[in-house]
């Protein structure tokens, strides 16, 4: 059993987003999703700092300090893109105009509660950004996160203990182990990585899961994660 790496998780999320969608990617792991969109889909990426139709720079492309995404990293614009100010940008988010938000998580509860902005033991200042806007604004909230924390504790829990970002807002969770959908009838496992049994998955999960009758193996291409020069992790990168 080999859990997915970050790129494979991003790839899996990318392949869940249908052609023609308007999508916001949260800072951190979600930002990688843009790199794995299937070529045959027109997806319009929204960045809360006022961009629609952005993409990551191509290798070797010159960065422009005036053209950055919500993670403050340089991007480029596709033909058909548009710039707008923050009030209009959050009108889009809060008014239900985005099809998907992809967010990281510290905890997702069985009822869909999400906590992803503040740890309890943190002595330093909190930082919420646009997460609380996105959780209620986007039509569907997709979460991308490791199935378990480094200490092995589950991120999908019975009840969230951390300060919430939003209540009952998560639609689907993409982890390195599984794809799990929140339904009217609880958390349903749609896909699991090969070599993992449902009981093993349940053991690693705080919330009660149910295996879909038509569940599938969670298979992605090999997508090695490049070593990047280490840098101080930004708050909000989950």
């Amino acid at each position: 059993m080999t859990p997915l790496n970050r790129n494979q998780m991003a790839w899996r999320v990318a392949h869940d987003i249908p052609d023609g969608s308007y999508v916001n990617l949260g800072v951190g792991m979600p930002l990688a999703v843009v790199n794995f969109m299937p070529d045959d889909r027109d997806i319009v990426f929204h960045s809360e700092n006022g961009l629609l139709g952005m993409r990551d720079l191509k290798p070797g492309e010159e960065p422009d300090s005036e053209l950055v995404n919500a993670g403050k990293r340089p991007v480029r614009m596709l033909p058909g893109g548009a710039f707008f100010h923050h009030a209009d940008s959050f009108l889009m988010i809060r008014g239900g105009h985005l099809d998907f938000a992809v967010l990281g998580a510290y905890e997702v509860a069985e009822n869909g509660d999400l906590a992803n902005w503040r740890l309890l033991d943190s002595k330093s200042a909190p930082a919420v950004g646009g997460a609380m806007d996105l959780v209620y604004g986007a039509k569907k909230v997709l979460v991308i996160c490791e199935h378990n924390s480094k200490d092995g504790s589950p991120k999908i829990v019975k009840e969230a203990k951390l300060p919430l970002t939003g209540r009952e807002c998560v639609s689907k969770i993409f982890t390195d182990h599984a794809v799990i959908e929140r339904t009217g009838d609880g958390m349903v496992v749609r896909e699991m990585i090969e070599g993992l049994t449902f009981d093993e998955l349940q053991d690693r999960t705080g919330a009660k899961l149910r295996l879909a009758n038509d569940w599938k193996p969670l298979i992605t291409p090999d997508l090695p994660v490049e070593e990047r020069p280490s840098r101080k992790k930004q708050v909000g990168e989950i």
Binding site: D19, G20, Y22, D42, V44, H46, L52, G53, M77, P79, G80, G81, A82, F83, F84, F90, L91, M92, R94, G95, G96, H97, L98, Y136, G137
Partner: protein, 224 residues
């Protein structure tokens, strides 16, 4: 591929249902999406609530929608303009319900609906008959009226140029209510004078980003 282009006004409005709330851009005849209104009128839909600034001139566009009996209620600020004969006849005969709303309150209520704001407070109309029945609340010693958001099932708008992603730009004062209405509905249909190639509209100059627009149809040339 995202392609929001439609061939005709008729095709663009074909699935609008009876009883819909329809936001309509324009200010008088300037920027009125006349051909979309006429195509909708031709379908003889029934029971519409229309939200717009004026109540049409003559028997085309908004006037035709009313003439054809499509409209049960109009929400507007200034129904009577020269030529608003259809409105006047129906209104005086008691066949059309009128909700009179200050012009800025229409704009702000529609924007609120677009922005996920269910209600807001405004000084406008405080102490007047148009505030009757509305909640009044004092902030910092001044009274304000609570207004609810308006959300459309459909918006019909007119723009100058558009592209297949639904990005729109306007020409001069035809902008008026069009970008506001375009944001405010579940299904937004734009008539434009010209559909251009994707990328021809400068991202700095797009007024209505395509995220708000579902269908774009190219009609007459501007000033033709």
């Amino acid at each position: 591929m995202i392609d929001k282009r439609r061939q005709t006004a008729d095709e663009a409005v074909a699935d609008i249902k009876d009883g819909s709330t329809v936001l309509i851009g324009g200010f008088g005849m300037t920027g009125e999406p006349r051909e979309l209104c006429s195509a909708l009128a031709a379908r003889k839909v029934r029971g519409l609530t229309i939200v717009t600034n004026n109540a049409g001139s003559g028997e085309f566009g908004i006037g035709l929608l009313m003439k054809q009996g499509c409209v049960d209620k109009i929400v507007c600020s200034f129904p009577r303009v020269p030529g608003s004969v259809v409105f006047e006849e129906l209104y005086e005969a008691g066949k059309l319900e009128l909700e009179m709303v200050p012009q800025g309150t229409i704009a702000e209520r529609v924007r609120a609906g677009a922005a996920g704001v269910p209600a807001f407070f405004t000084r406008t109309s405080w102490g007047t008959p148009l505030a009757e029945g509305k909640e009044v609340r004092t902030f910092d010693g001044k009274e304000y009226v609570m207004e609810r958001a308006i959300r459309g099932d459909v918006a019909l708008v007119k723009a100058y140029k558009g592209d297949r992603w639904g990005n729109l730009v306007y020409a001069k004062s035809m902008r008026n209510f069009n970008p506001v209405m375009a944001m405010g509905a579940d299904l937004t249909i734009a008539q434009v004078s010209e559909i251009v190639e994707l990328g021809e509209l400068d991202p700095e100059h797009v007024i209505t980003p395509g995220i708000f627009v579902n269908r774009v149809v190219q009609l007459e040339a501007l000033n033709a």
